[in-house]
């Protein structure tokens, strides 16, 4: 059974160029195609006609690398809950449906081209403190550190973040709180993460503010858009950690840089 979609796609030749929606007719599709395979087909046709294909980020196509991310009819990653764009299939759409495709929209994510945006702000948030400073070597036996199963499971729930940026794109404030809080929760739930816990939250929150991300006002769109269904409970946890660390107030608030 073939399908037909009417696309309206954001085209923007470069970061400073003006962008606009362009309509494309996409006939002869299959319901079993993934959304990105549909874009592949459209691009093949564009190239054959000598036109520039639609630029979009993608890589693993199995929902784990976090490269892909499109606003589909105004919803980050499209209509299927808990699913990254690459794992969305055309069976989630009606034959003949109009589909509007846009890049992530956020001041902190400038458009590079068409549907490709610059998400390096997320890397800088991690570089500000989203780690445990364990140098290679000189660490104890893995079973010398016990972790209660519930804590390990909760840490894993938070660590499942793929860094796609859907939370930012879905948030009316373009806040990166869910992203930052997920890492803070992952590391803060583990005994290994305790020594740097206060420093981590202060630095990461500070970096988030230095980037052009907005603040969290508990709207909850982020958890709805998250392809890994990370809960906003982690944000409450981050706020608690932040408050405690601020009251103890021993850590300077510094940012980070280092992109080459």
């Amino acid at each position: 059974m073939t399908m037909h979609l009417k696309l309206r796609v954001w085209r923007q030749p470069g970061p400073t160029a003006a962008g606009r929606f362009v309509a494309y007719d996409a006939p002869d599709l299959s319901a079993d195609m993934s959304f990105l395979e549909m874009l592949d087909v459209v691009n093949e046709r564009l190239i054959e006609q000598g036109e520039a294909p639609i630029a979009f980020d993608h890589d693993c196509r199995e929902g784990i690398c976090g490269s892909c991310g499109l606003m589909i009819n105004g919803v980050a990653h499209g209509p299927m809950r808990g699913t990254a764009t690459c794992q969305l299939h055309l069976r989630s759409f009606r034959d003949g449906q109009e589909v509007v495709i846009e890049p992530w929209r956020a001041k902190a994510f400038p458009v590079v081209r068409d549907l490709v945006v610059d998400r390096s702000g997320l890397d800088r948030i991690i570089a500000a403190g989203g780690y445990i400073s364990a140098r290679t070597g000189g660490v104890p036996d893995a079973n010398a550190v016990l972790v209660a199963k519930d804590d390990a499971d909760s840490a894993m729930d938070a660590a499942a973040c793929i860094g796609c940026g859907a939370c930012v794109a879905a948030c009316p404030n373009a806040s990166a709180s869910l992203f930052a809080a997920a890492k803070i929760a992952h590391l803060g739930l583990l005994p290994q993460g305790q020594p740097e816990r206060a420093k981590r939250v202060l630095r990461m929150v500070s970096q988030m503010d230095m980037e052009a991300f907005g603040n969290c006002t508990n709207i909850g769109e982020c958890q709805e858009a998250c392809p890994k269904l990370i809960s906003i409970d982690v944000i409450a946890r981050m706020n608690r950690d932040f408050l405690r660390a601020s009251l103890l107030g021993r850590e300077e608030r510094v940012g980070s840089s280092g992109e080459g």
Partner: protein, 637 residues
């Protein structure tokens, strides 16, 4: 070209220790004078870049993705092996070493594999210290599961996302160094050539994928950790961007390529559903812990699975390999699936599929346990196929997954070009002709965290490296070469897309150089590949310019390399007149259809040297000497 493996003397268990003692060290204060370029930010690249920076070297790290966290190691599902013997089930460093050598069908170097098994235990310690949320028992201790090719439980895992968690651990360690200013990170940047001066690798040429800027980077050493070349088949479980370009261009600069024909076909992937398909999705091998593989006994049986009674099902892995059963190694399980489908007993559309059935496990353990173990994999399967694997058995089929072949390296992980080191899947070293499950993550991290930080010091301390100026003729020459190639790709203006060539090449390779190979088929491929390549250079169309984000141009560059590299693979497969591991030559099999090695003639690493445009590559042989294990026909019966 001389292949000097530099394997240390002495008893197997003491080689690495002794070697570490004998190597020259770089004084801590001098390390900052050395600059090292690391290409790739997967498990091997990120762990190497972070560890080298911690030691004090100046490091630059490059990846083509928009963030180093997206390298394809992230997609590894099942787990990582380590000889911890936490289960008290008889594991040891020796057993992991032996399983890996045997699993690789005796085509890997003993000393390298033994070192890998030794280091495996340190990796788990390191990852736990970084906060990798491995699965735990209720006691708080680490949990383990079993994987193919082993009869002990030594695989550590983080749900079905082990690669993701290990990579994020390495990525975070890398970010820590980026923040300290000790690593300069270059995302969306691709390596397109090496710079050789006085026979040593002294840098490379890159293209910035956003601006198109082509730049030279000079350094004291280069580390390639650029992954495998499975995408030569077009369809594989690799990420779409995974490519051979870095290693292939290093080959053209004089690095020998080891065993290019050794590719791994993973038995449990979701079958192909249409010709628009862009990639194949793996279903973790860990599923074979509880899933049972079967096909109908009768050819052409089209009844739905629940209507096929027990007596009319063939659980062929359990039948043929009773002691390993559904956990037989990957090459064996893949071939068995192909055989069943070739017999007309395959299931699903097109008949290229077998069942992986969890009904017994769900009855025995309950749905909740299965959900805990494999929940995310079941969801992924359902999203892709629209079928519920809790109710209907999964349909799976083998797909290209990993490449054991890669640039030849010595014991220090240095290629035949001095100063060029190669880590992880990009090198040929540890897995022989077949890799066991959960061993890729182990090797990537062993190379990056624990081997290269030591061995590169010995190179830097002993090589006499003069300062290289940025306008050295070799630097200018490499820059010009890259620019010329890009211009040429953009100027062809033909009528076929890059992808159409890639698909054509992939179909040919899968057919002639895939799960079963023959001299006849490989000969045909060797005739056909130059024809496809010639048409590519006459009739491909690459829109846009070189001064912008141009994804079609990126692909064209990579596919152009695949079109040459495919020939090297087929040549290697044709010359290896034996079957071993993932390399199955139909002419060489036992009466019951198992791979038949020829140790007399082929117990060596085939290392191919580039001999110039249009010339046949030159074969060099590194004999494999087994002093500690007895070569035997691999049996999993």
């Amino acid at each position: 070209m001389e292949l000097r493996a530099r394997t240390p003397a002495g008893p197997l268990a003491e080689k690495w220790d002794r070697h570490r003692f004998e190597m020259k060290l770089v004084n801590p204060a001098n390390k900052r004078r050395y600059k090292v370029l690391v290409v790739g930010s997967g498990l091997a690249g990120a762990s190497a870049a972070a560890s080298l920076a911690e030691l004090g070297y100046q490091v630059s790290c490059f990846c083509f993705q928009d963030s180093p966290r997206r390298a394809h190691s992230i997609a590894a599902q099942g787990g990582i092996n380590a000889a911890k013997n936490y289960q008290n089930d008889g594991d040891s460093i020796w057993r992991l070493f032996y399983d890996t050598i045997k699993g690789g069908d005796f085509r890997a170097r003993e000393a390298n594999v033994y070192r890998l098994a030794q280091i495996s235990v340190d990796i788990i310690d390191q990852c736990v210290a970084q906060g990798v949320p491995f699965a735990r028992e209720y006691s708080g201790y680490l949990a383990n599961r079993s994987f193919g090719g082993a009869q002990v439980s030594r695989t550590f895992y983080a749900r079905g996302q082990t690669g993701q968690q290990l990579l994020l651990g390495a990525y975070q360690a890398l970010c820590k160094e980026i923040a300290r200013g000790t690593v300069l990170m270059y995302p969306r940047t691709e390596m397109l050539d090496l710079i050789l001066i006085d026979g040593r690798c002294r840098g490379m040429v890159t293209r910035n994928l956003v601006t198109g800027e082509v730049a030279a980077h000079v350094a004291d050493a280069v580390v390639l950790a650029t992954g495998g070349y499975g995408n030569v088949f077009y369809l594989s479980t690799n990420a779409r961007g995974s490519n051979v370009t870095a290693t292939f261009r290093a080959w053209k600069r004089g690095a020998a390529f080891g065993n290019p024909c050794f590719t791994q076909i993973h038995p449990t992937c979701i079958p192909v559903s249409g010709d628009y398909q862009s990639k194949l999705t793996l279903m973790s091998e860990s599923l074979r812990n509880d899933g049972r593989v079967w096909v109908p006994k009768r050819a052409g049986d089209t009844r739905p699975p629940h209507e096929i009674p027990e007596a009319e099902r063939d659980y062929y892995l359990e039948r043929k390999y009773p002691s390993f059963g559904n956990l037989s190694p990957r090459d064996i399980a893949s071939r068995a699936a192909k055989e069943a489908c070739d017999d007309g007993r395959g299931v699903g559309p097109g008949g290229r599929g077998v069942y992986l059935d969890f009904a017994d496990a769900i009855t025995r353990l309950g749905r909740q346990t299965i959900e805990e173990r494999y929940g995310n994999l079941f969801e992924m399967y359902q999203r892709i196929t629209d079928e519920d694997p809790y109710r209907v058995p999964m349909r799976i089929y083998p797909a290209v997954h990993y490449t054991m072949g890669g640039l030849w390296v010595d014991y220090d992980l240095m290629s035949t070009i001095p100063g060029l080191h190669v880590l992880g899947e990009a090198n040929f070293s540890d897995h022989g002709a077949n890799r066991l499950g959960a061993s890729a993550l182990m090797q990537g991290l062993a190379d990056g965290y624990f081997i290269i930080p030591v061995t590169i010091g010995d190179y830097l301390a002993t090589a006499k490296l003069d300062k290289v100026s940025a306008d050295h003729p070799e630097v200018r020459g490499a820059l010009e070469g890259v620019a010329r190639k890009t211009k040429r790709l953009l100027s062809i203006g033909g009528s076929r897309t890059v992808d159409s060539f890639h698909r054509e090449l992939g179909a040919l390779m899968w057919d002639k150089c895939g799960m079963a190979r023959t001299a006849h088929g490989l000969g045909e491929a060797l005739r056909r590949i130059p024809e496809i390549r010639a048409e590519f250079w006459e009739n491909v169309t690459v829109p846009g310019s070189d001064a912008e984000l141009n994804q079609a141009l990126e692909k064209a560059n990579r596919v152009a390399d695949f079109l040459e590299f495919a020939e090297l693979m087929c040549r290697d497969a044709l010359h290896r007149e034996e079957s071993c591991g993932g390399h199955f030559r139909e002419e060489h099999q036992t009466p019951d259809g198992e791979a038949k090695r020829d140790d007399e003639r082929f117990a060596y690493v085939a290392a191919w040297e580039y001999a110039g445009e249009g010339a046949e590559p030159v074969l060099h042989r590194e004999p494999l000497v087994f002093e500690n294990v007895q070569l035997a026909q691999r049996s999993y019966k």
